[in-house]
């Protein structure tokens, strides 16, 4: 955790510490009991001041501090029939910067986590190619590779909010997104190795798990910037993110980023499979449904404060922060409103501004303690401005499920609690 979230974070941690019932003694008398002398945090020796800690071999693969044990992915049990075919959510309110740690990247599986032995894994390319081919993982790792940071957002992120404010926390309203650095081989190189026939227009990636996930991807996108990735944030993909191989489809909906990738078929027409007909199509008010709605529109959300991260320090200096992203390029600006979208102030984007990657923004803010209607609004490099939820509803109705990139409103109350609300 960086210092950027300031006081509220420190106090939250302390309350968690108390709530967890760990080491009550020293912390409970902090401040008051020794008011005349100073703070117990300074005046009393702590165990870690005196005694030796674990040696280097105690944690061969490191894990976060026990005081961060609440920083976890969470699901909403009633959303799906079974955790085997379900989704959980990235704890955006606990993160900073732009990179999502591997263990906190939200999960969406359709048949559970496949535990694939890389030695037994193959990638096949078949269909409209000069030579139908098979690659081992060792073959794939001999191709020239690239490193790229991209966001992956589920098209259903914020999908529960179409009919009105529903879930209280940005983890749940916006947590079907993560942003990591991928290392992988440009898909173009693999397709060229097989030799794409001139009548080819589409590819169909397929997963090796028990859902055998498939999608139709235009060949032009495949040749432009897709990657076949084997690393995330420098280490091997996690099993829940498709180990040992996944497709990366920058800026496009997460469902297309097929995990446990084992096959690429090249064809002249789309396949119209389940995940691009029954699902991931956007039903409009007139009963028509948009299909092949691949791009993720520009979107942003304030992660702190938010319902899971209240403003516990009361009035005074605070840091408002959040994330913004666009499937069409970079984020050019983020504006923040404290009055429900009537007036806006430009936020400060800090950290790398990369194509189709999450951006981090801050508004350093002196809170007067009065209630706020907090919003953020992103504009991307194409001039697209994140719309209000009501603008989206006016165009599409409320049955679309997918592609809800509307402006989120948090109601910060005078006591610092935050609630997910809809505004006029």
């Amino acid at each position: 955790m960086s210092d950027e979230t300031g006081n509220s974070k420190t106090k939250t941690s302390r309350r968690r510490f108390l709530g967890a019932g760990v080491a009550l003694g020293a912390a409970a008398i902090a401040g008051k009991a020794r008011a005349g002398d100073g703070e117990a945090a300074i005046l009393e020796k702590k165990d870690w001041n005196q005694y030796l800690g674990d040696g280097v071999d105690a944690r061969p693969y490191g894990h976060p501090s026990e005081f961060e044990k609440n920083v976890v992915r969470r699901n909403v049990a009633w959303l799906t029939a079974d955790p085997i075919s379900s989704v959980n959510f990235t704890p955006l309110h606990d993160l900073d910067g732009i990179i999502t740690p591997n263990g906190l990247c939200f999960e969406r599986h359709h048949a559970g986590i496949a535990e694939v032995d890389p030695a037994e894994h193959r990638l096949m390319i078949n269909g409209l190619v000069d030579k139908q081919m098979v690659f081992t993982m060792a073959d794939i790792m001999r191709f020239p590779r690239e490193n790229r940071v991209y966001f992956l957002e589920c098209a259903a992120n914020s999908g529960m909010e179409w009919r009105g404010a529903q879930l209280n926390g940005c983890q749940f309203t916006h947590g079907m997104i993560h942003n990591v650095m991928y290392t992988g081989v440009p898909l173009k190189l693999l397709l060229e190795e097989a030799g794409v026939k001139t009548n080819a227009k589409w590819i169909m990636p397929e997963g090796a798990d028990a859902s055998a996930m498939t999608r139709s991807v235009p060949l032009a996108k495949a040749m432009e910037d897709c990657l076949v990735a084997f690393k995330m944030n420098g280490e091997a993909l996690r099993p829940e993110q498709g180990y040992p191989l996944r497709l990366v489809v920058p800026g496009w909906e997460g469902n297309m980023w097929v995990k446990w990738l084992r096959r690429l078929e090249v064809g002249d027409e789309p396949w119209h499979h389940r995940e691009e007909t029954s699902k991931y199509t956007d039903l409009l008010e007139n009963g028509k449904a948009r299909r092949f709605t691949w791009e993720m529109d520009a979107k942003s959300v304030i992660t702190n404060p938010s319902p899971q991260a209240p403003l516990l320090h009361k009035k005074g200096q605070t840091v408002i922060t959040g994330v913004a992203w666009s499937g069409r390029g970079t984020i050019k600006r983020v504006d923040v409103s404290i009055d429900g979208g009537r007036n806006w102030m430009p936020a400060r984007i800090d950290g790398p501004s990369l194509d189709k990657s999450m951006h981090r923004f801050y508004l350093d803010f002196d809170w007067d303690g009065s209630p706020l209607l907090l919003q953020s609004r992103a504009m991307d490099s194409t001039g697209y401005v994140q719309p209000t939820k009501n603008q989206l509803r006016a165009e599409r109705g409320t049955n679309s499920i997918y592609h809800n990139n509307g402006i989120q409103t948090w109601h910060v109350k005078a006591n610092g609690e935050v609630e997910n609300v809809e505004v006029s």
């Binding site: 139908q132 030799g195 119209h272 029954s278 948009r290 009537r342 007036n343 609630e419 006029s424």
Partner: protein
């Protein structure tokens, strides 16, 4: 140009553009065998490409469905708990609560065959024989009132068996909300008339598990 010469010319130009710089550039991987390709190449398209030989009746499908599908999807495709509803929902797409089923929503029958064949039954994927998949697909058509009870679905009559909602899928029309012209900035002041009012609050306040509620104090 003679027919022969013309085709030779086309073949040559394809070679010229495709081969030298492309195929086999890194000399990695190997050619897939025919048996390997057919083991994995199971996908079906709306034009029938990929369909295996086979057939199955509504009656046969009902029996297999009862044994392998009904525990989640219900005897009549109504869906148990939150498992997908497969039948009904006709004329519901414009309503407040659309019911998107094979009969009310799915555009192509090939999607049903492909999905059942690749991913069902849940937890025992790719265990069905082609005739069983034809039969289950026939039964699902019958549950959705697309075919009669004496119908038999086969590779031969598959493509002409159409689903009712096929025509209602349209192209992506985004962006469908305002884009600002280059160099301009979005509205910054007085963007809404008067004071902004709260029109709704979160319906679900307790999504986060209890232990967290206690610790953050933010959730009721």
């Amino acid at each position: 140009m003679s027919k022969y010469l013309k085709s030779a010319f086309v073949a040559l130009s394809v070679l010229a553009t495709a081969t030298p710089a492309m195929a086999g550039k890194f000399d990695l991987g190997r050619e897939a065998t025919a048996a390997e390709v057919s083991a994995w190449d199971i996908d079906i398209r709306p034009d029938g490409k990929g369909l295996p030989e086979g057939k199955g009746t509504v009656v046969q499908g009902e029996e297999i469905y009862a044994e392998k599908c009904a525990s989640c999807h219900g005897d009549f495709g109504e869906g148990i708990d939150r498992w997908p509803v497969l039948a009904g929902g006709q004329d519901s797409l414009k309503s407040e609560r659309p019911v998107k089923t094979i009969g009310s929503y799915w555009p192509y029958l090939s999607t049903v065959f492909d999905y059942v064949n690749r991913a069902m039954p849940f937890g025992e994927a790719q265990s069905l024989e082609p005739d069983e998949v034809y039969a289950i697909t026939a039964y699902l058509l019958n549950l959705n009132d697309v075919v009669d009870g004496d119908f038999e679905l086969s590779k031969q009559n598959f493509v002409k068996t159409r689903l009712p909602n096929e025509a209602n899928f349209i192209a992506d029309a985004r962006p469908d909300t305002p884009v600002v012209t280059k160099g301009a900035e979005p509205c910054m002041t007085d963007c809404k008339p008067g004071t902004v009012k709260i029109t709704g609050t979160a319906r679900v306040l307790d999504v986060t598990p209890d232990e967290d509620n206690n610790q953050t104090g933010s959730l009721d």
